[in-house]
């Protein structure tokens, strides 16, 4: 019996009949109104239609179908004397991998999966073969995860191509793949990949359960899977890393992570992810460890600047002026003279304008993008200052904050920090460093509370000793990585305090 919906059986599973006409009639009734369903007949020497090939137009490679498959089959029929069915089957088997289909449901699924299906008169089975012919994007460098050094391949929307890229890099016999079909209508194929000797099997089981529990009509992107399986829906922080790079995915699998690949999207999901993995791009592996670690520290500092830069400025210029060195304070005060708005409102205007400009530049065609950037810079940078709406130091603060946020490799994480900036600014405006301290405490506290399938999000910070945290955060030279020959032979994240943990204290 075919299972088209996970764990459930379709009500309308009908076996095929020996008269192919009747089968074809049934198929036509299912696909009524769908002009993409095409039929090609195969006739024997006496021109009696003995077989029909059915396929969906634009999914199957029609050129190959006509020139190779149909042509060969017809030639074999004319030249061989045996029973038609046997001749056709023999011919088909020489052309590729044949699936035997016994129910209408299976045929529907195969047709949707770029297969053509052969019906032979007198047979109560149909025969399917994959012949994908739809166009896919060429393998290109990822737009967001750019590297100076390292591979330049990025995933595409074709799952098979993506799997090929991974399998080419990871030839281990421990590499396992498990597939799911998600989406009642879309029947999107989702694969999870992992190394069986490195993965945490409890996390794997939990993850499979969560993927099984997804109920959607159409799965269009891996972001839907991400939202469905993550622990904390309302957290502003993404809990699952996504990447378009096969090298990053392979490195992650080597560290015991589980990768979720979705057909139709180039983003692979890497779980369980930690916050620090979102700050470390794959390029760190390709540079010398001095430089890589230096950049890690820089990224951490820019993260802090991105999050609390404007808040600090608001707190100091509103409540704690004594902290600013006197010459600088004079500059700030003279710059602020004549500005009608309080510092918080200034910061809000500038931040919102910056966000609007950022969003606009993403939507614009590339031709116009540059001119808009120039206009935006002029309006925000010069005109706003000249007209006395904002002060110059505020423009600098906001610009530095914006640049700092661009250094964060994970786009999702950068967005969440941009979002959190506003409540922190509000708290700073309300009560200076007190508000900012409390706000930062809440942010850190929230990060410490996040988990994915029991794995701590802020690992190794707070869960292991300081020395082991430092060892995990900083990249040692490849030669000195722990267990060189079995790098990450145990999962690279700690599950301390999670063995029996299933919920919050008061549940």
């Amino acid at each position: 019996m075919l299972i088209s919906k996970k764990g459930e059986e379709e009500m309308s599973q009908e076996p095929l009949r020996t008269f192919s006409n009747k089968n074809l009639q049934e198929l036509k009734s299912i696909y009524v109104g769908n002009e993409l369903l095409l039929f090609r007949t195969l006739a024997d020497k006496d021109n009696i239609n003995e077989a029909v090939i059915v396929y969906l137009n634009s999914l199957v490679d029609e050129k190959r179908l006509n020139q190779q498959i149909l042509r060969k089959m017809n030639m074999d029929l004319r030249m061989n004397d045996g029973p038609t069915g046997e001749v056709l089957l023999e011919s088909l088997h020489t052309l590729g991998d044949v699936n035997i289909l016994t129910e209408i449901d299976e045929i529907e699924n195969h047709l949707a999966d770029s297969n053509f299906v052969l019906f032979i008169e007198g047979y109560d089975e149909a025969f399917g073969m994959k012949l994908p012919g739809f166009e896919t994007r060429a393998i290109d460098e990822p737009q967001i995860e750019l590297n100076i050094r390292g591979p330049r391949e990025g995933f595409t929307e074709d799952l098979q191509k993506n799997l090929g890229m991974i399998l080419r890099r990871m030839k281990s016999k421990n590499l396992k793949a498990k597939s799911f079909l998600i989406g009642q209508e879309s029947q999107t194929k989702v694969m999870i990949l992992y190394l069986s000797d490195r993965v945490d099997h409890e996390v794997l089981d939990e993850l499979c359960q969560r993927i099984d529990s997804i109920h959607l009509d159409v799965l269009s992107d891996s972001a839907q899977i991400e939202e469905w399986i993550q622990d904390s829906t309302f957290s502003p922080f993404p809990q699952i890393l996504n990447s378009e790079r096969p090298d990053r995915v392979v490195t992650a699998m080597n560290r015991g992570k589980i990768v979720i690949m979705t057909d139709g999207t180039p983003n692979a999901l890497i779980t369980p992810s930690t916050f620090f993995e979102m700050l470390h791009p794959s390029e760190d592996q390709f540079e010398r460890f001095y430089f890589a670690n230096f950049l890690r520290i820089i990224r951490l500092l820019t993260l802090i600047v991105s999050l609390i830069g404007p808040s600090f400025y608001i707190a100091f210029t509103t409540f704690h002026l004594e902290m600013i060195p006197t010459p600088l304070l004079m500059t700030f005060l003279s710059a602020k003279a004549g500005i009608p708005f309080p510092t918080f409102i200034e910061a809000l205007i500038m931040e919102v304008a910056f966000e609007v400009l950022r969003e606009a530049s993403m939507r614009l065609p590339r031709i116009m993008g540059q001119s808009v950037s120039i206009v935006g810079a002029l309006i925000i940078g010069e005109a706003a200052v000249q007209s006395g709406i904002v002060s110059r130091p505020m423009v600098i603060v906001v610009a530095m904050t914006g640049i700092a946020s661009f250094t964060i490799p994970s786009y999702n994480t950068a967005i969440s920090l941009r979002l959190l900036r506003f409540p922190l600014m509000f708290l700073s405006a309300l009560s200076g460093m007190f508000g900012l301290s409390v706000g930062m405490f809440i942010v850190i506290f929230h990060l410490c509370s996040l988990r994915f399938c029991g794995v701590l999000f802020l690992d190794p910070l707070g869960s292991e000793g300081y020395w082991s945290a430092m060892k995990k955060f900083f990249l040692p030279p490849v030669k000195y990585k722990e267990g060189l020959h079995s790098e990450g032979s145990r999962p690279n994240v700690s599950r301390i305090q999670s063995q029996k943990y299933r919920g919050k204290d008061w549940e």
Binding site: F319, H320, E322, M323, P325, L427, L430, S431, G432, M433, F434, G435, L436, S437, V438, M440, F441, I442, I444, F445, H446, C448, S449, L456, L458, L461, G462, S463, G465, Y466, I496, Q497, K500, Y501, R502, G503, K504, D505, W506, E507
Partner: protein, 365 residues
């Protein structure tokens, strides 16, 4: 079965350190009283703290699978235990409200004079209620992250204060009278290690119970050392008279920190860290209050009560210690006495009863 998250003994020790170092460092009432002899108060404090810790860990170790509240029921009987725990709850509320008020009073006095203290207390209360709701494990991990920053700030303060040292704070020794020593020690103990019973209620949540005493004893020693260091740093940089008259002597000390010619008055950054550690202090109090209240009132589903208790903490704090002078008088005269029963007598009684029962069991067997 859902099991509450456990913490490590290291995390408990760090919580204890953060709990004490964060809050008490700003007031230094014993330093004002005893000046150069403040080390005596700290030594007494450490010794009594370790003794009290020993008693509480001993009691917990005799009943390994039980929470402290359940142990009280076993040792004292149901109703006497409820009475004692209720007295503890009152003491907890008293301490937490005092903490809220101290923070708000500090900020409205020296940093945010135009802000209503109720709003500051409200922000604190919202934060602490959220933290209590999330749980102890997260708090312990957050504390582990914050403590290094606090220590770095403290070390930086020490380094940059050294050039500001004007006099020798150690001499002449033994100038304080016995009454000053007694009162100073009592003050210091009240505001620091008297709350070890609060940590006693958290000991059942530690993974490795055998290492609790060691971790917490080290935390007590480190806190004591820290308090001694800041006391003498304050005395040496501000002078004895200024320390005696200043409301927040350590704050005045860190105002002297200068980084070259350009960066000075960075006390607000250190105060930010202090604020966070005081928050940890209050969260622990509120968390334990919630745990104990749940037991005393025999509540089966505590989740809705977390917010209610948070509200209670806020309204009680906003109505308590409204006048600063009353607050100080209360802190010096009433609080050391009122905290004796729940914080000293209670654990000692538990320890004695445990000892008696154990000897009785040995004799019986």
């Amino acid at each position: 079965m859902k099991v509450r998250e456990k913490i490590s003994h290291l995390q408990l020790g760090c919580l204890l350190f953060g709990y004490i170092a964060g809050f008490e460092s700003l007031f230094l009432t014993e330093t004002k009283l005893m000046k150069q002899d403040v080390w005596i108060a700290n030594v007494f404090n450490i010794l009594i703290g370790i003794a009290l810790l020993g008693i509480i860990t001993y009691v917990q170790r005799q009943f390994p699978g039980y929470k402290m509240t359940e142990i009280c029921d076993k040792l004292l009987g149901k109703w006497l235990s409820k009475i004692m725990l209720f007295i503890y709850l009152l003491s907890n509320l008293e301490s937490a409200s005092g903490g809220f008020r101290a923070v708000s009073m500090f900020y409205t006095t020296v940093i945010l004079p135009n802000t209503r203290s109720d709003y500051l207390i409200l922000i604190y209360a919202v934060c602490s209620t959220y933290a209590v709701y999330i749980g102890l494990g997260t708090l312990a991990r957050t504390n582990l992250i914050i403590i290094p920053f606090f220590l770095i700030g403290f070390l930086a303060t020490c380094l940059f204060i050294i050039p500001e040292i004007q006099l020798n704070p150690f001499l002449p020794q033994l100038q304080s009278s016995k009454s000053d020593i007694a009162i100073g020690s009592m003050h210091l103990f009240t505001f620091t290690f008297s709350q070890l019973i609060t940590f006693g209620f958290l000991m059942s949540r530690v993974e490795n119970m055998k290492k609790i005493f060691t971790s917490c004893a080290i935390a007590i020693l480190m806190s004591g050392l820290y308090l001694v260091m800041i006391s003498y740093l304050t005395l040496s940089s501000l002078g004895f008279n200024y320390v005696e008259t200043s409301t927040y002597p350590f704050f005045s000390t860190i105002q002297l920190v200068k980084l070259g010619e350009y960066l000075e008055r960075i006390e607000i950054l250190l105060i930010g860290l202090w604020t966070v550690l005081t928050m940890v202090n209050i969260i622990i109090m509120q968390y334990v209050f919630t745990l104990v209240a749940g037991h005393v009132l025999a509540i089966s589903k505590m989740k809705p009560f977390v917010l209610a208790i948070g509200l209670l903490f806020f309204v009680h704090a906003s109505k308590s210690y409204i006048r600063t002078a009353d607050h100080f008088t209360y802190g010096t005269k009433i609080y050391p006495i009122s905290s004796l029963l729940p914080c000293v007598v209670f654990p000692v009684v538990l320890g004695l009863i445990t000892l008696i029962k154990k000897k009785g069991n040995i004799k019986a067997s």
